[in-house]
């Protein structure tokens, strides 16, 4: 009797919870949320934890985020330890058994990525080097193509009732991707040289054949000293790169300064969906990134 009424109570709770209406997806970064939106459309409710204006390396776990993760049917994140400063505490504090590490709904997007720059040996004297490899793979068409496939599979698994809908949206997305890809290939970036603020463009450089010849940060995550800035100015004068690249959340001031000193133009590249009003989704983000590099 008690067991039955308890069961009924649990069913009641489940029934009244708003989660039932739509699939609750919690994404850490804007670009992940945007891809989920492209595939899930009106069948999913997406919460993105990190704002486009934030540095994805240094996000603070806020209690409101714990509540969002508590409600998640599936948690999708960048991985490669980019979220290590806040996601583990959110996941544990959420008390949500479905999205704990080891569960399939603890969905690490980097599982579909061919990771580059995995250091053979690493310690923190090298700065904030990511021991699992470069985590900024979201500006990499070939990797995101596969990630989107993976996201679709995951949505279809968690919400099998809408499997066909998700797959159809993936096909539509892939068609758009291929169209866009032709435009992207039109940008001739091969052989170009850039100085970047952070190790943010390596995947892109690999795919489009340009070079990053130096970094404004002396080591990843370490802000430049005056002496280092001098060295970068020298490097810029000697190598004459095409531009100095930064993202909108940091490094813009340094890049402008370097640009004035060296005569090399500085370019602010949108780093994630929503960084500028016209970066509505991942495809338009790529449009803008490549246009900025041209």
């Amino acid at each position: 009797m008690i067991r039955k009424s308890l069961l009924a109570f649990i069913c009641f709770l489940a029934w009244t919870s708003p989660a039932l209406a739509k699939l609750n997806v919690v994404a850490t970064l804007p670009w992940i949320g945007s891809l989920v939106q492209d595939i899930g459309r009106d069948k999913v409710h997406i919460t993105t934890l990190v704002r486009p204006s934030q540095d994805p390396h240094y996000v603070e776990a806020k209690p409101s985020m714990i509540l969002e993760v508590r409600r998640a049917d599936i948690l999708m994140f960048n991985g490669l330890e980019l979220e290590i400063g806040y996601l583990p505490v959110l996941v544990e504090s959420s008390r949500n058994p479905n999205i704990q590490p080891g569960k399939t709904d603890h969905f690490d997007c980097s599982q579909f990525v061919a990771v580059i720059e995995k250091p053979a040996a690493v310690d923190r004297s090298m700065g904030d080097v990511h021991p699992l490899g470069n985590p900024h793979y979201h500006l990499s068409p070939r990797n995101i193509y596969r990630v989107t496939g993976g996201i679709t599979e995951a949505l279809a698994r968690v919400d099998p009732g809408n499997e066909g809908f998700y797959r159809a949206n993936l096909v539509a997305w892939q068609e758009k991707f291929k169209e866009k890809e032709k435009q992207w290939m039109g940008h001739n970036l091969r052989g170009k040289k850039f100085i970047a603020y952070h190790k943010f463009f390596e995947y892109l450089a690999n795919e489009f054949g340009f070079e990053i010849i130096g970094y404004v940060e002396p080591k990843p995550g370490i802000p430049p000293s005056a002496g280092w800035v001098e060295k970068i100015i020298e490097l810029a004068k000697k190598m004459k790169p095409d531009a100095i690249l930064t993202t909108s959340y940091y490094g813009a001031r340094e890049a402008t300064f370097l640009s004035q000193k060296s005569g090399v133009k500085s370019v602010v590249v949108p780093h994630d969906v929503g960084a500028t009003p016209t970066c509505k989704d991942w495809l338009s983000l790529m449009d803008q990134v490549l246009a900025a590099l041209e």
Binding site: D55, K62, I66, V89, R142, E181, E207, G209
Partner: protein, 464 residues
Amino acid sequence: MRTMIVFVLSLCLVSTSAFAETLEERIQQLEETIKKQEEMLQNQHKTLEELKEKSKPEKPAEQPVSPPPPTRDYRLDDRSRGIYVPSASPLTPYSLTKQVATPGLMNPAISLILDTLYYHSSLSRNELASKSTPGFIGPQEPPFREGFNLRAAELWFFAPVDPYFNLYATLPITENGIEVEEAYFVTTSLPAGLQVKGGKFKSGFGRFNAFHPHAWDFVDAPLPYKLFFGGEGEGLIEKGAQLTYLPNLPTYTILGAEVLQGDNDTLFGPDAESGPHAYTAFAKSSLDFGGSHSVLFGGSVVGGKTKTTSYAPNTELKGDTVLYGLEFTYKWKPSRWRSFILQSEYLYRHQTGYLTDTVALTTDSLNRDQDGFYVQALYQINRWRIGGRFDRMAILKDEVARAGQELSFSGQPYRVTGALEFNPTEFSRIRLQYNYDKSDPNRENQEVLLQFILAIGAHGAHAY
């Protein structure tokens, strides 16, 4: 076939070499080159195999039509200068790394945090040792000595036990040996927003209580924590069990209750009763305003049986104690490089019992109703942070009655603190702090502290 290609390739390479002078040298070079080429081919073969393996389980509808394969990889050739130089030879396009099967992944995450400081006080060692806050607490062993101090080298372990439990242990190593500051499990798979914690842990009471000394915003604890919990003011760290509940409400709210052993020997005392004899309950809520403002507020209560000698030398206090706490935190964090935190707590102690003079062997009733609060603000800009704190006891209520007689003590204990921090990275912190301490109304204590906190090992997550 492969060897042939290698041979021809090598020949080409070698023939262009203008530096090999003798035949012997040339042969040596040839051999080396062959070796290298073979290694490269093997690597490429491996990569191909891995690629095949990798592409099997996924099933995106079609193979991606990708931009041409990369021609360059980048190596950290010059680490000291940090400039990434393109490597001379075209390498395999992507080094494929799987995140499994790395040896050592089954080990728990481990970190070691060094907390060391230089201490100067305007008082002599004897004056510090006899310093007290009458009505609140008797003389206590001063936490620091004039000069260099090693507070602790704190070992921290974490790992999931299985799909149902996570385990944490914080083991500060001091010159007196290793201590178990915390060692507890947390459940991860309970339904309906419930979580159980058990072992020895920092209680959910209050705000400041949750933090380890290396994560404090100042070198030392706020005055109300020092006077109500004793010691350095670490707060309520107890053996026990905790149940918390996170309801699915529109705003973050957490409710919790604990059964604790009651070992804290200022507030309760290990011998006050044979079994667990302290109980807590707390509720906290949080709201966001815009993207970068948030507040956390709540109330806590802890009550239990008391048997302590901390009231004054040669006394023993037995009775019942209830401590109430109110907390408020405001944070503004628009970016990594700027933040502002305002935090305050108010504590109120209600105690009834009997005080025995262990020399004269007399016993009187003792009732205490006392309070205290602190407010602190920290402003961070780039790698610098500046902080101020004001602590004051006996603000709304200060009643100490012994044998029905109201006792009066001179002045309200207070302290003013200023601190300047430089944080080279998130793993190191240098802090200079000044205290003007009138927690003993009869003694003016001025303190200067220079602290170094350095962390190695696993990257712990930061609590709010």
